[in-house]
């Protein structure tokens, strides 16, 4: 007997204008069939707007289907009287960790569900205890949720669902707003609940690497299920995955490159370990190795390998951070050293990545560069001038050094996109004609379609909003553009669009770009230099390949080097003469093929 059976499910979002006439109809679910057996771990993949969240909300009866039938735990989900019993057997964890925690104390929040169900007080206490234990949050039971990290909050939210003792839990993009640590915590918790408690899991995500452990994967696009099968079956068809804007893991991509070049690797390699073992198998016999090399297709990777760019330092044009320290709540017992004697020099025109996990001081550092925070000690020089000099105009600095914050779309406030972009240049005191010219240019630079200039920013998709917000800073003509986690919360396709946009702007406009991120893999291909922050210090600083040489040390401060780096080191350790500093898929493919010919 299935726990969830959906047949020909249809859901339409109807938008009406002010008179109540139908403005547009979006088909969010288009004749979807879904069968889930008890105890299964199901993953639903798809880019933003593919309909996967709409499907999730149906399972929890938060939305009702327009057509078709849906049975959850042998109850008809189309009948309103079944809503509460269905929500009891199919719980749901949402994307934003903050917006689903109701109480100000962890254990009271976990108790919220069972309290609603009318469970006896003693049983509630027992359920709260066991569910906090099952997500590994027991010692935080009396904490305020505001003091927890994103991953911990999400685990509290999971405990809150577990306490209702559901047969099935739907995770609606639970990792989209988390850093890599938080993502691992949440996915591991989902697997643990599935294996130890036999809870059916439906994981909705846009990251392919999170679905590797699933029993069955569905891919959605435009409200339809377009692919379904085991992870291996899905991962075998990389071209189709890319077509549906999914993020294929580096190991799978690399295996595919090598297979296209002629190495006899199977389709759908899932993990780094699997690829390593398969490669070593092919490599082990020197005679066969040579034969493989003879049969390879002539493929060149050279044009896809980023060229190293040289930058000349010039004290009159660079940003110089000179022994800067910053303390929060300075002078009290609660003081926290957010920056600890940081010294850097960033030449004009460089593309820099600042990497660190949450709380490493990376955001504090960039707030110093445009004067939003003032160092407790040390100096910062921009274009040769000390920004802490008494006669230095901090307002000028803000236009020289543009800062785009995390989730910048949250700062949009005007009635139209165009007006919003005008805000910055107008504050600079420019005349109206120049302001509009600047806004126009900036929106063009970020590739924003002209027909949407007069639309409201609140009607745009996440990626488009972010473009407008970046244009809002670009319009101030900064010499340096700093972006704090510009890809946070976007789906893989949106992320690549923004990163490519930045790379293009760096190339064409010759401005310095400083990119703050917690993801090594994202920035490795784009930046000239990586600065790794940990506990307020700049611990490593250099070209990506130099920094990734320290992959073991990076792991200790819970940052992961790209998958390829690990793979190259493992291959080298097993006796394959590859260049271990390869960081991108193209570089790795080149050096592996060279190793077969050696």
């Amino acid at each position: 007997m299935n726990i969830i059976t959906a047949k020909q499910l249809v859901h339409e979002f109807i938008r009406r204008d002010e008179e109540g006439n139908v403005d547009s109809i979006t088909t969010a679910l288009d004749h979807v069939d879904l069968d889930v057996k008890p105890g299964e771990f199901i993953a639903i993949l798809g880019h933003n707007g593919s309909g996967k969240s709409t499907l999730a909300k149906h399972i929890n009866t938060l939305l009702a289907p327009d057509e078709g039938t849906l049975w959850v735990d042998e109850m008809d989900a189309t009948l309103p009287e079944n809503a509460i019993p269905i929500r009891r057997s199919a719980g749901m964890v949402f994307q934003n960790p903050d917006n689903q925690i109701i109480a100000s104390v962890v254990e009271e929040d976990v108790a919220f569900g069972p309290e609603n169900l009318g469970v006896a007080s003693a049983d509630i206490r027992e359920r709260v205890r066991t569910s906090l234990k099952s997500v590994g949050m027991s010692k935080y039971r009396n904490h305020s949720p505001n003091k927890l990290s994103g991953g911990q909050k999400q685990r509290v939210a999971i405990a809150g669902v577990v306490a209702m003792e559901p047969k099935c839990i739907v995770f609606d993009e639970p990792t989209a707003m988390l850093d890599p640590n938080g993502r691992r915590e949440v996915i591991a918790t989902a697997h643990k609940l599935n294996q130890k408690k036999g809870v059916t899991i439906i994981l909705i995500t846009h990251y392919m690497e999170e679905v590797v452990g699933a029993d069955h994967v569905y891919v959605m696009d435009h409200g339809k299920i377009v692919m379904d099968g085991t992870p291996r079956e899905i991962f075998s068809d990389i071209e189709t995955c890319k077509h549906y804007r999914l993020d294929v893991p580096q190991s799978t991509l690399l295996a595919d490159e090598l297979r296209n070049a002629g190495l006899p690797l199977p389709k759908g390699v899932l993990t780094r370990e699997e690829l390593r073992d398969r490669l070593l198998d092919l490599f082990v016999d020197p005679v066969r190795r040579g034969q493989y090399y003879q049969q390879l297709n002539p493929v060149s990777f050279a044009d896809r390998i980023p060229k190293h760019r040289e930058y000349v330092t010039d004290k009159t044009k660079d940003i110089i951070v000179d022994h800067v320290s910053y303390e929060y709540s300075s002078g009290t017992a609660y003081r926290v050293k957010a920056l600890d004697d940081v010294s850097l020099e960033i030449p004009r025109g460089q593309f820099v990545g600042i990497i660190g996990h949450t709380g490493s001081g990376k955001s504090t550092l960039i707030s110093h560069l445009n004067g939003l925070l003032k160092a407790t000690s040390g100096h910062i020089y921009v274009n040769g001038e000390d920004i802490y000099d008494e006669d230095y105009k901090i307002k000028d600095l803000r236009s020289k050094v543009g800062l785009v914050f995390q989730y910048p779309e949250h700062q949009l406030f005007e009635t139209t996109n165009f007006k919003d972009v005008c805000f910055g240049p107008r504050n600079q005191g420019l005349d109206e004609k120049t302001v509009e010219l600047r806004a126009f240019e900036a929106l063009e630079q970020v590739g924003f379609p002209q027909e949407l200039f007069d639309a409201s920013p609140f009607d745009l998709s996440g990626g488009q909003k972010r473009r407008v917000a970046i244009a809002g800073v670009l319009a101030m003509h900064p010499e340096v553009l700093i972006l704090d986690e510009p890809t946070a919360g976007l789906d893989p396709a949106g992320r690549d669009e923004i990163l490519n946009l930045l790379a293009r702007m760096h190339e064409e406009m010759k401005i310095t770009i400083i990119l703050v991120s917690h993801s090594m893999e994202d920035v490795a291909e784009y930046v000239d230099r990586i600065i790794v922050m940990n506990q307020g210090k700049a611990v490593y600083d250099g070209e990506p390949r130099e920094v990734f040489k320290r992959y073991l040390e990076l792991e200790q401060i819970s940052l992961a080097a790209p998958q390829v780096t690990y793979l190259m080191h493992e291959l080298q350790d097993s006796g394959m003469p590859v260049n271990p500093t390869a960081t991108t898929v193209a570089e790795a493919a080149e050096t592996i093929i060279a190793a077969f010919g050696a």
């Binding site: 719980g91 309290e115 169900l117 006896a120 669902v161």
Partner: protein, 271 residues
Amino acid sequence: MLRDITIGQYYPAESPIHKLDPRVKLFATLIYIIALFVFKGALGFGIITVGLVAMIAVSSVPLSYILKGLKSIVVILIITSLFNVVFTTGDIIFVKYGPFVISDAGIRNGIVIIFRLIYLIMGTSLMTLTTTPNQLTDGLERSMRHLAKIKFPVHAIAMMMSIALRFIPILIDETDKIMKAQMARGADFETGGLIKRAKAMVPLLVPLFVSAFRRADDLAMAMEARCYNGGVGRTKMNPLRYGKKDAIAYMIIFAFLAAVIVARILLPWPM
């Protein structure tokens, strides 16, 4: 700015007062306020002082912590007292100028009102200092549950209070972030006249409201998903239950009120 207000913020400790049922503390506060306004005479004043001092001593909240909360209302205290002094006529008039008089009764009233207000703030903040916001909402909900019979939305109000308590710190954080982001775009929140400053708030308030509505929407959905269906049929993880200490506390409260009333009848002098 908002973070600096410490008046009445919960002070964690393990005192007998902290452990009392919040309903007892709510009731005691009510009685205390009544006592403050019915007392007359030095004896009554003495009883209230003894009561307040004893409570503070038992609560193990440092006196300095309570007094710090008074700092923010010094101006209000002085103004209220001054009004009492200059607008009350009495038997003996010292100075008279236009509508203003300074009399013996005026001075007496001025002093009494200062003490009343200081005692009022100290006593009521003692309640919030020793009760977590959650206990307080719980206590209010239980104390007022009979009002639900006349269709007063007791549960809804209590739920709203606890959600507000949860989201205030988040929204303060968010205000800070948006403010910084707009400052990075050259916005100026600090200089200029009143109108200019009010205008400068638009880029701050619009995103803040949008975000608050988005959060409210998400939260409503999350609550529904966890079977929230209003207050009907709900149970509590830790339901409020009276213990022996609460009974003793009630007796002390009644004795206190009785003493103040008796003092007023017997010795209504000299205030």
